[in-house]
Symmetry: C2
Subunit: 170 residues, 2 copies
């Protein structure tokens, strides 16, 4: 599942999503074990909920899905879990939509770029050296030291383009 980061891929619509989520949880558990980090039930549950939707999901949507039966969690509970998951590279925050997505390549740290479908919400994560290079060299020309680039591209995913109206002509 640690696919080639050079090629952005949208999850195919009919894929086995249960297995996809299970795989992500398993990988996270393995990485935490190796790092001595604690993937507690809450953190695990938040990660599961983030993966359960391939579309970005908001913190309060996560909260709303968190065991209404058991004792109610507070926002901070979710944000703390998300902080942990982000620190370990299991999820990314998409600041252009105030929402979170599972990371497809959690094994080593990276600066990702995202394609976000405005219709179905699907997200593809890329790690394109050419984009990083272009940003890096432009920044260097300006004398700017890059620390963390945010690249989030809004548009239409392949599936939505096939189904719907033609792309808007600006």
């Amino acid at each position: 599942m640690a696919a080639d980061p050079g090629q952005a891929l949208f999850p195919s619509r009919g894929h086995d999503h249960a297995a996809c989520v299970a795989g992500a949880l398993e990988r996270a558990a393995g990485i935490c074990a190796r790092r001595g980090a604690r993937l507690t039930p809450i953190r695990r549950r938040v990660l599961e909920l983030v993966w359960a939707s391939h579309a970005p999901i908001g913190a309060y949507d996560i909260l709303a899905r968190m065991e209404p039966e058991s004792r109610r969690s507070a926002p901070a509970t979710v944000y703390r879990a998300l902080d942990f998951l982000m620190a370990h590279g299991f999820v990314h925050r998409l600041s252009s939509v105030n929402a979170y997505v599972g990371c497809g390549f959690p094994d080593n740290p990276h600066m990702a770029q995202f394609l976000i479908c405005k219709e179905c919400g699907a997200v593809a994560e890329m790690d394109e050296p050419r984009i990083e290079q272009a940003i890096g060299s432009a920044a260097a020309q300006a004398g700017f030291a890059v620390e963390s680039p945010v690249v989030e591209v809004r548009g239409r995913c392949p599936a939505c383009r096939k189904e719907g109206a033609p792309d808007a002509r600006p």
Copy 2:
């Protein structure tokens, strides 16, 4: 002042900022006149406040600076003015910091990229074809139709690098 968009520039620290703001207001007024758009006192004032700080400024900071003496404006007042100013390309929203900056090249629509100094807040706006191309070709490979890319790079500006500690080594 309509400098070469190919070269990102941070405003020099000692520049004549009053003239810089005045110029932006004048250009906006001219563009509105040509377009038949109404640069009302409120919109003009919001644009002035956005330009008054070269760093990104939040909507509520704008609100707080808006004539405390006169009748108090509400958040919606500021957001409506910002919507107008963004629609006409006079300001950009930086979604990674929930704040707004004046646009250096309002004359024709463009998709900008931003360098944001984490220390002093200074922002440089770029319009780098190489970045757009890199994003465009990666998106095309994924079958994705780009609509509006968000590129906001956090880091350290030249002035802060000269003054302070050396860049962090990650």
